[in-house]
């Protein structure tokens, strides 16, 4: 029973992390390597707001999320937009931005900026305490993750199906040229998707970071997890992202309870390799059969 609950929570964690990446890739076909960087950036922003500016927690979160959304928009507007249509350059630039953000957070001594080094930073959980849920003790933060995650995913589903901008995002994801002919502005859509994707990364950060501590290494870890989920589920497929999150989430929980926590990576690598060998486009990968096979 415990495994079931914790497995679901873990799956939700993976899903929250991957959702922002899937959105950006699905709409703009750009892999947002900065996803992990924005995740930790929001974490550190929150931390600074709370501890050095003594802001209210909720306010800090909102501000940090807003800044993340703006950052995402700026990244697209000033960097990625110039490289549209050149896939090699897009990938390289996205990667470079991610490293600038991640390693930049480790800087010390620039204009009095103390780098964020060392595992001493934590974000407080929203509410302290545990609750007994179906015979398993689970802390509030994890419960919130479950609920919030489900809400967010549900919200995204509704928005992309029933609102105009949501539908246009889906249109671009399916067939960019057709959507453009119908008047959807692909650059604006990409900018919006990058902005929303960054906000989602930030949202995941504020929900999940209180569970552990906050360090730059998390940025790489989160990016790797998001990528793993997307590969296993199929790049650009929503259903795939969800199923893959659950698959990975439960596998990891099972393996860590049986073998120990350090085997998480082995499970991830193993699953990825298996998928690539047997169903390369992912569980639900959509093959654009004419352009590039698989």
């Amino acid at each position: 029973m415990q495994i079931l609950i914790y497995g679901t929570v873990n799956s939700m964690i993976y899903a929250l992390i991957a959702v922002g990446f899937t959105l950006v890739y699905g709409v703009s076909r750009i892999p947002n390597f900065a996803h992990g960087a924005i995740y930790v950036l929001v974490g550190f922003l929150c931390w600074s707001f709370i501890n050095e500016w003594h802001m209210n927690y909720a306010l800090a979160i909102l501000l940090a999320l807003g800044m993340a959304a703006i950052l995402g928009m700026l990244i697209y507007r000033f960097i990625l937009i110039r490289l549209r249509g050149m896939p090699t350059s897009e990938i390289i630039a996205s990667f470079a931005v991610s490293l600038i953000l991640l390693e930049g957070l480790r800087l010390q001594g620039i204009a009095g900026f103390k780098g964020f080094i060392g595992p001493f930073y934590t974000l407080p959980p929203f509410f302290d305490g545990k609750v007994n849920f179906l015979g398993v003790f689970i802390d509030y933060q994890r419960l919130i993750i479950l609920v919030a995650g489900a809400l967010i995913i549900g919200l995204i589903y509704l928005l992309t199906r029933y609102t105009k901008s949501g539908l246009s995002l889906r249109a671009i994801a399916q067939d960019e040229q057709a959507a453009m002919m119908l008047g959807v502005n692909s650059d604006r859509a990409a900018m919006i998707s990058l902005s929303v994707g960054s906000a989602l990364a930030g949202l995941a950060a504020v929900l999940i970071l209180p569970l552990g501590n906050l360090a730059v290494e998390q940025g790489y870890k989160v990016l790797v997890h998001a990528l793993a989920v997307c590969i296993i589920g199929g790049l650009g497929s929503w259903a795939g992202t969800l199923w893959a999150s659950f698959l990975i989430g439960f596998s990891v929980i099972l393996s860590t309870s049986l073998f120990g926590a350090v085997w998480e990576s082995v499970v991830l690598v193993g699953t990825i390799i298996l998928i690539l060998l047997f169903k390369p486009s992912g569980l639900f990968g959509k093959q654009k059969e004419l352009e590039e096979r698989v």
Binding site: P31, L83, A93, I100, L107, Q108, S265, E292
Partner: protein, 336 residues
Amino acid sequence: MPKEEKRKKRIDRSITVRSRGLYALTSWREMTFLAAPRVLLVIALLLLPLTVDLYWQRVLCAAGIYALLALGFDFLAEYVGLVCLGGALFIGIGGYISGSLNAYLHWQPWASIPVATLGGAIISTLILLPCLRLRGIYFAIISFMFPLFCVSIIIATGILGSTEGISGLDTFSSVRMEQYVIFGAVLITLFFLRRLVSEDFGLILRGIKDNDQAVRASGINITAYKIKAVFIASLLGCFAGAYLGHLYGWLGLSLFAMDFSILPIAATVMGGMGTLAGPVIGAFLLTPLSEALRGFGQLRVVLYCVVLLGFILYKPEGLLNYLDRKYHQFERWENV
């Protein structure tokens, strides 16, 4: 009243025109014009170690390693269309194999390095194999993830020295030898790759990058060619890794560091993608620079990336193409 507009006009230099064609052979001046840049590169590379002191000689060796990685990256990115974000994978695999052979089986460097190069290349290619059937983006993602996975797996299983690494490896017999081994490797690779891309094999690879459906419709199995290309690039990286282990006599998880992945990319973009010689020059510029900035810690990585972004956004042709253009043509403003 129409405004006077100026336009930049590029004209070939007269000596460029004269050196085209067979008649260039009859003139010393034209031959020098043609040969100078190439000869200069080779001579500079060979003489450089003699002109600097011991500390910088070590740095030049490191530059050589990055040059090999940059060559591999440029080859894959511009000639096959595969962006390899994880050069560290090759360094790590090559380094660990060579180091293990040396430390556990007591093989000498002149035996362990070649075996590590070949064996490492085979293993790396096998790891990257599953994603070669897919779109280029998968290769980028997988190549990015694997160095990080290797680190976690080594830590998790505790094998191969885990976090402490393996020390006490044999080093080269002399400092001179260190340098000329790596420089020789860089020059040989440079010439070999240049020949390769001009041959039919290179043409097919470029076709794959450009329009892979047409290549398939012409009866070519593109996955087979991609595999061969990845194998070549991994040979370079694994050699560099094996060499690195024996250069410092020690290896550890730092072999999989992001540094090895990002600096070759920055060197390539800066030097000029597709020129093969440009990445080498880029590596030899960036490595001493990074050494000089060692005191700033992680600033270096930020610096490479900023430089990289700057070049990719504002001067995507890179240094070598820019210099080449200036060398062969001159520009003037002209009224339209």
